[in-house]
Structures are given as C-alpha cells and as structure tokens.
Subunit: 234 residues, 2 copies
DNA sequence: TTTATAAATGTAAAAATTACACTTAATATT
DNA sequence: AATATTAAGTGTAATTTTTACATTTATAAA
C-alpha cells in the first residue's frame, strides 16, 4: 500500500562543522572528488538511506569525516529550492555540529580532502552551501547568546581567557574581561582546577572544567551570555 | 544526468496552525476524509510538488485550508523516523503558523472537516502529529519569550488586557498587570487608539495598534517579554 | 634582583526588575 | 440623581542586574 501519484525526491543531509582553534572559528570543508563540481569545496554531506532517520544519517556522515561520535549536533533547517541542485531535485536538511578541534583525527579524512578553513576566509562552496553556512553562523550566534553551547568547541580543560576569545570571535567584538569572567563564573557551570595553562603567559591562567551535571541541567536555561545579542545577528 | 543508486522519498509538509480566541489558545485540525486513518484527526498537510519549495508548499496548504495568505509561518523541523508513516517512508517538514482567528473563513474548510480545538484539549492525532504539536508549542513559547511574535495572533486592534491574557495563556501563568503593561508599552511597538473596547468592562480598555514599522524593525530584537522563560519551556 | 606580561580582581553608578495597592472611568442599580 | 459595581489604569520604593572602569598579582625571562 503506497501513496500513488506523488513525486519522490532525493533527501540529502549536509553538515556544517564548526571548530575553534584557540584564536579563530573554523569550518571543516571537503573537496569533492567526483563530478559534478569536482574539486570544488563543499560541506560534507550524503543522501539519507532507506532505514535511517536524518539524525542518524547526519551522525553517520559526521563520523565518516571526523571519526567522532556523540558530538553536539542540531538540525538547522531544510533547504528546498527546486533549483538548488542542477543535477536532480534534492532537498537538503542541514545540521550543524560543534566539535573540539583537537579531537578531530586528520588521517580519517584524507579520503575526502578535508580542510579546516577560517570561517571568515571561506572559499566559495557548491550549490547553496554558502547560504547554509551563513544561516548556521547566525543560528550559532543566536543560540550561544542564551545557552552554554560554546563549551562544545573547547577541550575538557580550558581557561577563562580562552573562553573569552571564543565568545569574542563568534561575535567579532570585545568584552570587558572583569565583567565577562564574573558573568561566566556566576553561572556556576565552571569548576576551577589546580593547574594552570602556562602556554600563553608567565603568570598562567587557571584551567576550568565544566560541571557536567549542572551543564546538562542548564543547557536549555536562558543564561544571557551576551548583552543585546540582536546587535550581532543578521 | 541523475544521482544513481539512491532512494527517493516522499516529502510531506504539515502545518501546525495556532489561533487565540481571546481566552484560549487553539489549534486548527482536520478530520481525514480518506484512508488510511480515515476520520482520525490530523494536522493539515500535503506532499511537496515537483516545482515547489517547502515554503511554497506550506503556504499552498495553509491557504487551501484557511483561505489566508501572507500569514506568519516558520519552519519547525523535519521529522524523519523511518517508521513514522506505516504506508510508505515519508519525511515530513513541519511548519507552524500563527493566524488571527477572526480572519479564518470557516466555509473554506468544510471540505476538510476542519475544527478549532483548545490546545489543552486536543484529540489524539495520526502518525507523529502529537509530538510535532508539542515541539511547536515549545518553540512558540521559546520564541514569544524573546520576540514580539504573538501579535500575529491578534486582530489589528487589541487591548492590553487581551494581550496579557494571550501571554498568560501561552505560559499558563499570571503576570502582574502593572509590570506587564509597563514592559509591553516600553517596547514602543504599541500605539494607543482613541476608542475603547467596551465588551469586557464598564470602564472599557483602550485599543492599541501595532506600530508596523517598529514591529518589523524589532521582530528579531531580543525583547525579553517573559522573565525566566526556561521555567516554561520543556 | 629587576623587568615584562597577561591574569585576576573590586566597587560605585546606572539600569532593569520586582513587589505591591489605590484611583478612575463608565455602566448598572436603586 | 445618587450609589454601587467592576475592570482598567497607574506609581513608587526596594532589589537585582548590568555596566564602566584601574590596580594588583603571579610567574618567567632578562
């Protein structure tokens, strides 16, 4: 028993993979090894398989490229312009992922000619992938203004100055460090460690870890990390 | 030139249509006139056509049911569990719409046996439509806490007490009317009219209209209508 | 021992939010 | 005509949150 007389379409999943290298936001792109658009840069994607949900497909695709599982990933939206793929009508559901760039295993992706690009210096991508990335950036700015999302981009131990650089990078602005650290510490999500990071200064900066329990409890809380976030969202 | 060896799927659009009758939130449902699940209540939906984007399809479907165009509508998310439709694998992209219930033309929908239900007293729906509605309610609560979205549910002229009832209904709570009106008026979005609504009190309540220019300018602004919105969002 | 450098911290002023109760306008009642 | 009724409308003081801003501290290098 089937629905007759209706068109069936290809459904693709595309992953927008964000990372942070300590100084700048990055995005992981691949160079297509096959026609059409061979050699052009692209988001990592693939078609949904008959037995998969979109979430499963997105995780499969992410794992294939990065070797990572259990990564933060969120459905962005479906892109459905009938002309978006000149080869054949395809609907793409975009997901964005936040990964700890240090966990990314380069060798896994040599198959795909993957490369991290500075988010601000991204090449032209195939199809409608550039607008997808723009929408994902905005969604990330939106969500990170209210929820403790950006920790997903950091390693287990991180310092307050690193965290501030992360926020400042996302919003292309600067924050007063006294107010910033007070706000972040007041969430109660951070546990100070005894060790310091001595890489970036003589004095060293204390490492912090996330209080994972409080983190998962507060993930959906409105924490107002960024004052007037609408200034930064287009 | 086609992508070979990939499965093609049905893609459906389902519309979650919210209204407000002055006292309660409502949702517009239809009773399916055909098998499977004939006579069961359902969201209004349909399959995407070859030349349509999802947005166009959603608007087509909404217009067919309500007669309305230019309505506020937003993509909720794609639902893709492989078993969600027992007849045939179908991906559904849900949209939610906010309409002024007074503009809804009943006669248009007799074709579909459409009916407004109290949102809290909704029947069981087919497939995964109940969870779709739950997700839509949460999204609406989330977004309305920050953005001036709910005006889409009201007629052109409305009173502050009506507006407060609307917010109180969505969050199942009460607000102090002094603080509520101060907050809403401080947005600068409301223009007081000379006439009063005398339906609900002897004194009468002043009508207000939206300042449409400021409204569209501020639609994406973070206005914090609701204190601690995470209390209300699950 | 001194110097250099980034990390860490406190406080006062301003703004926003909260809690709370009386007055007013208009109709209905006597 | 006076009075009662009812929901609309409004103000203020206390608290909390946010903002602006400068000095001290820890450490390694010279």
């Amino acid at each position: 028993m089937k629905y007759s007389g209706q068109a069936r379409l290809l459904v693709a999943v595309d992953c927008i993979i964000f990372g942070f290298d300590g100084d700048n936001f990055k995005i992981l792109l691949i160079q297509r090894g096959f026609a059409p658009e061979k050699k052009k840069w692209s988001l990592m994607g693939g078609f949904i398989q008959p037995e998969e949900s979109l979430e499963i497909a997105a995780n499969r695709i992410l794992k294939k490229l990065t070797g990572l599982e259990g990564v933060y990933m969120e459905q962005l939206q479906a892109f459905s312009n009938p002309d978006r793929d000149p080869v054949e009508r395809t609907i793409a559901v975009a997901y964005f992922a936040l990964i700890d760039i240090q966990k990314y295993q380069k060798q896994l992706s040599t198959d795909y000619h993957a490369e991290w690009f500075l988010l601000d210096k991204m090449p032209k991508l195939i199809l409608d992938h550039n607008p997808m990335v723009e929408i994902a950036k905005n969604r990330l700015r939106y969500k990170a203004a209210l929820h403790p999302l950006l920790f997903e981009l950091l390693p287990e131990k991180f310092t307050i100055p690193q965290l501030q650089a992360l926020y400042e990078g996302l919003y292309s602005t600067t924050f007063d460090k006294r107010n910033f650290s007070r706000k972040l510490l007041s969430t109660g999500l951070l546990i100070r460690q005894k060790e310091k990071d001595k890489e970036n200064s003589r004095k060293g900066a204390f490492y912090f870890k996330l209080d994972k329990l409080k983190y998962s409890d507060n993930f959906d809380a409105f924490l107002k990390f960024i004052p007037n976030p609408d200034k930064f969202i287009s």
